[in-house]
């Protein structure tokens, strides 16, 4: 299932994602995944951060980045093996980056970098994938590969939660939508929840809603 998380700037989209990812500790309440507290299932959550949170000058190749998704299952004091590298290359190929594993991460375009990070999420074997603003600065071609990968997750029974400003994207491609503005305004199947009324409540005066004349 693919869930879109929408809301104006400062509405708490990123904060909610990071709380689920275990980056922030909630000040009240608890987060559960499959009935268990989220901390215990940290390795089942794959988080794709916003671009600014990554150190792009660090000397790592695309394959190195994808392999980071295997670190938790490899464990302390051990190194990823041949099987891990094979999975990394496979994930890169699935995202249309075949044979580019040895390139430094800064030599990719913004959209390709996002795909590398999606490949990393893939090899984590997650139950839940969290994407923070993945569509920022992505062109049409990258977007297609991206959608393919997200559908792969959905088909494999992996839930995907995407925080985004891109309302058209949400309406066109996501199964469910959550409207957030410092509290949850609405949550449900996109067809029922993505309504002019809910959007106005969520975004206040910041969004112009044009209703179809049909």
């Amino acid at each position: 299932m693919v869930v879109g998380l929408i809301g104006p700037n400062g509405s708490g989209k990123s904060t909610l994602l990071k709380a689920i990812a275990g980056v922030h500790t909630p000040s009240a309440g608890s987060i559960r995944l499959g009935g268990k507290p989220i901390r215990e299932s940290a390795s089942h959550v794959a988080f794709v951060p916003q671009r600014e949170e990554v150190n792009w000058d660090f000397p790592v190749t695309a394959r190195d980045v994808v392999l980071m998704g295997r670190y938790r299952s490899v464990g302390w004091l051990r190194w990823p093996g041949r099987e891990d590298r094979r999975r990394a290359d496979e994930a890169l190929a699935r995202l249309g980056l075949e044979g580019m594993g040895d390139r430094h991460i800064s030599q990719f375009s913004g959209g390709q970098q996002q795909r590398v990070f999606l490949a990393r999420a893939m090899v984590q074997d997650p139950e839940l994938v969290l994407l923070d603003e993945p569509f920022t600065g992505i062109d049409v071609k990258n977007r297609e590969v991206f959608h393919g990968a997200i559908q792969d997750f959905a088909r494999a029974g992996i839930s995907v939660l995407i925080a985004t400003h891109d309302l058209a994207e949400v309406q066109a491609t996501m199964d469910m939508v959550m409207c957030l503005n410092r509290r949850m305004v609405a949550f449900g199947p996109t067809a029922e929840t993505f309504t002019p009324g809910n959007l106005r409540t969520t975004f206040g005066g910041q969004v112009a809603v044009f209703e179809a004349a049909s």
């Binding site: 990071k18 990812a21 275990g22 980056v23 901390r39 940290a42 390795s43 959550v45 988080f47 951060p49 949170e53 990554v54 150190n55 000058d57 660090f58 000397p59 790592v60 190749t61 190195d64 980045v65 980071m68 670190y71 938790r72 490899v74 302390w76 004091l77 190194w79 990823p80 430094h104 990393r120 984590q124 969290l130």
Partner: protein, 297 residues
């Protein structure tokens, strides 16, 4: 050949050579993370902050490593905690505290006789005066620090590259950051005898910075960094012997020379390579332009 063998007839030169090689390996390794995490300023601060510890153990007649380790560890923990509570501007706080620590060391030392000469050897290192015990201590510390760094290399890499993902994968990021600062601190402390408080940062920062220019892979960068650091140390030591110059400072200048060579000659990041690439780019643009003109005509 005697240029190389003659100095090594002296036991103090043999010890100095061993010390410089061990320090080169250690600084080359740990320095990679200092450079990649942008810890140069913190490293400099650490080197100054351990000064009172150095002076106190010197005055008490103990090995200077003893006090330096205590002050170094306390300072590393202090910085780690300080950088977590974002209430004070980190830079200013570090600047204020470490200038104060350094001054404290000078004040304590100035109460002793023979002030100037002592101050000189503490500030600029005394590689030719290292004892066999010093070499052993350095080797043990280097093995421990190097072992921890290589053992946790994948965790240090992840927290440096993508701290958010590290935290979401359940890694103790704060503890790892603190541990890294302790490793940097230990490295600086054992290297103090080589080049002293003032110049130590050069040994930790210059070789890895040069190595970063040569490659885009961490493993290669670490190997190159170790190689350049050891080379600078050994070459600097021999040059200083023959030229009768201060050993620590000569080592640092040698490392700087190596760095400048890398800046100019590095394969993709160097000045020559980038200017050549730019020229080639211009040529291509030019060719493309003429082709178009031909087609049009």
């Amino acid at each position: 050949m005697s240029w190389l063998t003659e100095p090594l007839e002296y036991p103090f030169m043999q010890r100095a050579l061993m010390e410089v090689v061990i320090i080169g390996v250690l600084c080359g390794l740990v320095g990679c993370f200092v450079v990649l995490r942008g810890l140069a300023f913190i490293g400099d601060a650490l080197a100054h902050a351990v000064f009172p510890g150095v002076v106190l153990s010197y005055v008490a007649g103990r090995s200077i490593l003893f006090g330096a380790f205590i002050f170094g560890s306390l300072t590393a923990l202090g910085i780690g905690i300080l950088s977590r509570s974002r209430r004070v501007s980190e830079d200013s706080a570090i600047g204020v505290i470490f200038a104060a620590f350094f001054a404290l060391g000078v004040v304590i030392l100035s109460r002793q006789g023979g002030f100037r000469q002592d101050l000189g050897s503490l500030l600029f290192g005394n590689i030719l005066g290292v004892s066999t015990t010093d070499v052993w201590v350095t080797l043990v510390v280097a093995l421990i620090v190097g072992g921890i760094l290589l053992g946790l290399l994948k965790e240090f890499t992840l927290t440096a590259f993508d701290p958010t993902m590290a935290r979401s994968a359940g890694y103790p990021v704060f503890a790892l950051d603190l541990l890294l600062l302790l490793l940097v601190s230990a490295t600086i402390v054992v290297s103090l005898q080589t080049v002293g408080n003032i110049l130590i940062l050069a040994l930790v920062v210059t070789p890895p910075a040069a190595a970063r220019l040569l490659t885009d892979r961490l493993s290669h960068m670490m190997m190159a960094s170790v190689g350049l650091a050891v080379f600078s140390g050994v070459a600097g030591l021999f040059i200083s012997y023959h030229a009768a110059t201060a050993a620590g400072a000569t080592i640092v200048l040698t490392a700087t020379g190596v760095f400048l060579v890398c800046v100019v000659l590095a394969p993709t990041h160097g000045l020559l390579a980038t200017s050549r690439a730019r020229r080639r780019g211009r040529h291509h643009a030019h060719h493309f332009h003429t082709n178009e003109e031909i087609e049009v005509s």
